[in-house]
């Protein structure tokens, strides 16, 4: 779907992109992860035909983003970090306008607007003036304008930036809903969002791609040791007995909490969350919480980006 080959972009003496190459397959949901100034937005702006690369090539479905920009624009839906909304318009009119300039026939526009509004949960806001919307709803309208013409490729630049926790959860669900129907490329500097939303992560630092793969591939965790934490109510021997038969568990640490519950730290070879939860419940314990520890990905991210900092 997308092929970038030795992509470079300079603004004067500043090298925003420095030899970036990658491939994204159709239907993938890929997250661009990096600190501020890593080159994520520049990369997305080239993909969105807003910038032309200084050197190298990028193609979408075999069409060059610079040479055949107008064709490529017909394949994409783009949400910049600041949603490009006309405040004086009503949501429905705005989405209709966005669909119109993306080549949707007039007879189909009504249906497309309703569909995009439904997918972005904007049904009740369709007659609201955009200037009256909250920031979270403005982001939703931004995504709706990006998908209203049902493009094969959806590009979202920092879609959760500036949202409160409740809005982040809603936005996560919205972005997840795009998977399968579109190829999705998302940028963010928030690691947990990318890891929870995307199939694959591309880590950028100082204009270079410093890592690419699934979370497990990046952390080296595919089939290797992973760490879990759980909180249960019950007795320590019962926990040990329940987990004794779980395949893959290599070690268990149990500690009593102040409220009487037990803190479990479990190491296992692979993702055994389903097995753990079943074993604990079947062992007569009350499972209050179970999670895979994410500090490995954070450590990997810091290692990937830190190494490059050290090189400079």
């Amino acid at each position: 779907m997308i092929i970038a080959n030795d992509l470079q972009k300079s603004f004067g003496d500043v090298h925003a992109l420095d030899g970036v190459s990658f491939q994204i397959d159709k239907g993938e949901c890929v997250g661009l992860l990096g600190l501020n100034g890593a080159g994520k937005t520049t990369l997305l702006r080239i993909l969105g035909c807003l910038l032309t690369p200084t050197a190298g090539t990028m193609t979408v479905e075999g069409r060059d983003v610079s040479g055949e920009a107008n064709y490529v624009r017909g394949l994409i839906g783009f949400l910049p970090e600041e949603p490009p909304l006309y405040n004086d318009m009503r949501v429905g009119d705005f989405l209709g306008f966005a669909a119109g300039i993306r080549g949707i026939p007039r007879t189909d526009i009504g249906g497309r607007v309703q569909d995009a509004a439904r997918r972005c949960q904007l049904d009740k806001m369709i007659d609201a003036r955009i200037e009256t919307l909250s920031f979270g709803y403005r982001k939703r309208v931004g995504i709706a304008q990006a998908i209203v013409h049902n493009p094969p490729l959806v590009i979202l630049d920092e879609p959760i930036g500036g949202l409160d926790p409740a809005q982040i959860v809603e936005m996560r669900e919205l972005v997840r809903g795009l998977r399968g129907q579109h190829t999705v490329v998302i940028s963010s500097h928030i690691l947990t969002e990318i890891s929870q939303t995307c199939d694959r992560i591309m880590v950028m630092q100082r204009g270079k791609l410093v890592g690419s793969g699934t979370e497990e591939e990046l952390t080296g965790g595919a089939g290797k040791e992973q760490h879990f934490m759980a909180i249960v109510r019950g007795e320590k021997p019962d926990v040990e007995k329940a987990l004794a038969g779980v395949a893959g568990v290599t070690s268990i640490e149990i500690e009593k909490r102040a409220d009487g519950a037990l803190d479990l730290r479990i190491d296992a070879s692979g993702d055994v969350r389903a097995l753990l939860s079943r074993a604990l419940v079947q062992g007569g314990l009350d499972l209050i919480e179970l999670a895979r520890k994410s500090d490995k990905l954070e450590a990997t991210f810091l290692r990937l980006t830190g190494d490059k900092e050290d090189e400079r």
Binding site: T52, A98, R102, G103
Partner: protein
């Protein structure tokens, strides 16, 4: 042309709904009306044709002046408010964006200019008015307006500041207005060149007197096309930065 229509319609509605659009329309109509009452009708008895000529002369000045402000935000405001990526990431050609914006502004100018038609009608009540004179006058005003709007569109494509766009338009428009003075004092053949380039004097005078010359229509359409072309090229060169 579907994209041009969609962008023009959105632009015209946006200007009409905006406070700036309301202020421009209100000031334009109030000043044209006041000027008509005090200067055009004032000063003793006049022939209807002279009143009409005076009216179109005054109207042309107001139209030029307000066209600067109608066009200042056409492109600059999109950049200023961050809405331009919507158009720039859509399969819309640069000339379609420029034409759409221009026609949107032109529609607004057309609307407020046509509201002034009650003034020639008032002259008709008390005198004898030739509809040909009225039509020629309005044609001239609208052609002049289109040239100034095109200059404004070009200026607006150069910057993200609407204020800067106003000054650029004035910087281009004022010399074009004043070229007729240079035409009076320069030697041949410069005097002819300056006189021909002047946006108002020799090209507008026939219209206000009720005469339509093809050369004047060609001049105004050429000016409009030239500055819209320049705006398109500016957009092309700036969109990739």
């Amino acid at each position: 042309m579907k994209n041009v229509y969609l962008i023009a319609r959105r632009e015209a509605v946006s200007i009409l709904r905006s406070p700036q659009g309301f202020i421009i329309a209100a000031l334009y109509l109030a000043l044209v009306g006041l000027d008509f009452n005090l200067r055009v009708l004032g000063g003793g008895a006049k022939y209807s044709a002279d009143v009409l000529t005076g009216f179109f002369h005054e109207l042309s000045g107001f139209t030029m002046f307000f066209s600067v402000f109608i066009s200042m935000g056409l492109i600059a405001k999109e950049r200023e408010t961050g809405t331009f990526p919507l158009l720039l990431t859509s399969p819309v050609k640069d000339f379609e964006i420029i034409l759409g914006k221009f026609f949107g502004a032109y529609l607004f100018l057309l609307l407020i200019t046509l509201v002034t038609v009650y003034m020639p009608l008032l002259v008709m009540v008390n005198g004898k008015v030739s509809w040909g004179h009225v039509s020629a006058g309005y044609l001239g005003v609208l052609l002049l307006g289109s040239a100034v709007l095109a200059i404004g569109t070009f200026s607006s494509s150069l910057t993200r500041s609407q204020i800067v766009a106003v000054f650029v338009t004035l910087g281009i428009g004022m010399p074009l207005v004043l070229f007729w003075l240079l035409g009076r004092f320069a030697d041949k053949p410069l005097n002819d060149i300056f006189a021909y380039l002047a946006i108002h004097n020799i090209h507008f005078s026939p219209f206000k007197a009720g005469k339509v010359h093809l050369r004047d229509i060609v001049y105004y359409l050429s000016m409009t096309s030239f500055f819209l072309f320049a705006a398109t090229r500016t957009l092309e060169s700036r969109r990739w930065r």
